[in-house]
Symmetry: C2
Subunit: 415 residues, 2 copies
Amino acid sequence: MTALVLDADTLLENITTLGNIGLEPSNEGRSRIALTDAEKLGRDQLVTWMKGLDLEVHIDEIGNLFGILPDNTGNTKNDALMIGSHIDSVFNAGALDGCYGVLAGLAVTKAYRDQNVSPSRPIIVAAFTNEEGVRYQPDMMGSLAHAGGLTAEQVLNSIGTDGTRLGDELQRIGYAGTMPLGTLIPSQYLELHIEQGPVLDSEGIKIGAVANLQGISWQKIQIKGKANHAGTTPMSMRHDAGYVAASIIAFLREITETMPGTLATVGSIKFEPNAINVIPRMTELTVDLRNPDNTMLMAAEQALAEKLEILRREEGVTIGTEVLARFDPVIFDESLVASIEKAANSLNISHHRMTSGAGHDAQMIARIAPSAMIFVPSKDGVSHNPKEFTELEDLILGAEVLLTTVDSLLSNVSG
Amino acid sequence: MTALVLDADTLLENITTLGNIGLEPSNEGRSRIALTDAEKLGRDQLVTWMKGLDLEVHIDEIGNLFGILPDNTGNTKNDALMIGSHIDSVFNAGALDGCYGVLAGLAVTKAYRDQNVSPSRPIIVAAFTNEEGVRYQPDMMGSLAHAGGLTAEQVLNSIGTDGTRLGDELQRIGYAGTMPLGTLIPSQYLELHIEQGPVLDSEGIKIGAVANLQGISWQKIQIKGKANHAGTTPMSMRHDAGYVAASIIAFLREITETMPGTLATVGSIKFEPNAINVIPRMTELTVDLRNPDNTMLMAAEQALAEKLEILRREEGVTIGTEVLARFDPVIFDESLVASIEKAANSLNISHHRMTSGAGHDAQMIARIAPSAMIFVPSKDGVSHNPKEFTELEDLILGAEVLLTTVDSLLSNVSG
């Protein structure tokens, strides 16, 4: 058995090269929104690299992009290990979110090529279409569809925030492939990603062995009160939609204190008419609740619903709620998580088990194959921002852990 | 002494006529924003009516408009009783706010003309420029300047929200008068106005003898926290500018409960970046505090400042405040308030003393002359809205009380 060696220089170089595609004029961030001209250039670069490693490149009918390193028998289809993520970005993004995982997957295949050995099972490097969901909703679209959650038709007919049809844009940039959606079902799936949160960075731990992914509950709450003059309406006669919105935000903070493990965020709000001396007639706010335990997540939803009922009665307002998204928590494959820990141990790299707070393609692929994720620290937890940063050393450690994990799952066969 | 008789039909007809000037295409409301073409037409109509009553018309250099009924000696200058308000409106306004008071003043002078008697002192009907402050700030501009709070130059150089200079617009519509600002200082000032609040309407009282006007404290609060991912940032590591904003709103409601007489309103708010899954980096909200007692108003301001300090420390945010407006409470002239109550009593009309929650020209003129106000009910307290409504009967009762009050303050002298 030949020892596989990570080509760290090429990995870092590739991250920089891909990160320079779609660079903003300000030079601060890059915008490779799904199926734009900039993302097409990113795809072209990725395909070039895949072909340079002599991977078998496939593009499915919704633009999911796969590069396959065959096993020693030339098999590219059966019992594959998939390493995936995405190369689309948000507006003014960092260079790592998604790209790091795809390029580390490439680095794994390069380690085999460099040593001129083949894996005992095929390795598929996957870049899923439209993970970010900036232009076309929902996010994680390509992996969701790959896992059977959306049909190709549904994906292709998605209308973007700019009014475009996804299928038309896919044709336009030349990535409407011929492989039927859902063709390449792996036996195992690994995804390496920056944490996009502050936990590893603040604790000084280098590797997160991601054992599960939080459930997410998104809702929009609309409160209708009564607009009235701020100076002439006695407090007792008010139906203040703004006060109710504020009470909800304060209550959510209480929930997180009484229900440990719950995350609650109100990130967006709107007042109408939004004038200094008018009691708000209508307010809208969004609620983002997360918990790795579905029972606890449901308990938080229930507590909020009861609070809304109390506020409705007390303030004399009407309250409507709309579910915007609801994902159950995902539990990753125990054996894969253990393999990641074992790999980190064998490399003497600090690690701990953790929960993913953000959504990732891995949560979709977990529907169809045993899956797990590896996290590396994000400086100050910053992401979706040009300031997104991970020490180069940490990026290399993460890729080493990925390569060692893959190595432990497959046998090497001399080419 | 001849009994004065209110010509209620003409008053109501004039309200309708003036209310039809600047009518919106939807026919729902009217927009006679200060110094626009529509407001010029309103001014033209008012001057026509004044001249029809043979009042001496004067326009000062900032467009304040006066019609004077001389005393029996022909004196128009000394020891006058002024009845004032405004005829400019907000966008899509009702027909009563301001106009009612000016036209009731005209109705008072008409009562004298109809009986062919003269008052023992001149009566000045005043329409002050730009009370609403929609286009040029501050509001109550004409009366503030008349009372010495702004120079003519300051007023004329005001730049509007549409980029125009007030003095140019005044010239354009032909209402840049020649009378120096502040020429006509009355001995007494009365203003009849709709309540613009729900108190009289909900209590079924017909007349408010307005004894004082609340102090107003407006501030903008800006909170800077830290934007972070809603799913990956532990609650303990958050610096949530949205939570702090909500806590302020909730605290203000508490203040109104522990400090009776305080009104507190947060009418406007902004979150940045305002995304469902991002902890707000920055929030801005406005605070409107009112109290008729300045000591109490200052206590509320102080309590809020202390709360901001606590929130700043607890959540790890920075908080900046900016005073947008601060008016001390105004106490109206006791003797004039008593005269109004006496007039209502003599007419057997229900009344009570009250505080004005809204700002009015009377609060400015109170700086230079004994002043008081008369309120009539506003249906549901609605104002600044096409739905602004007062029963015709109540409009007549209010004008009767005004006329009777004037009658009690002046002697009549046969023409």
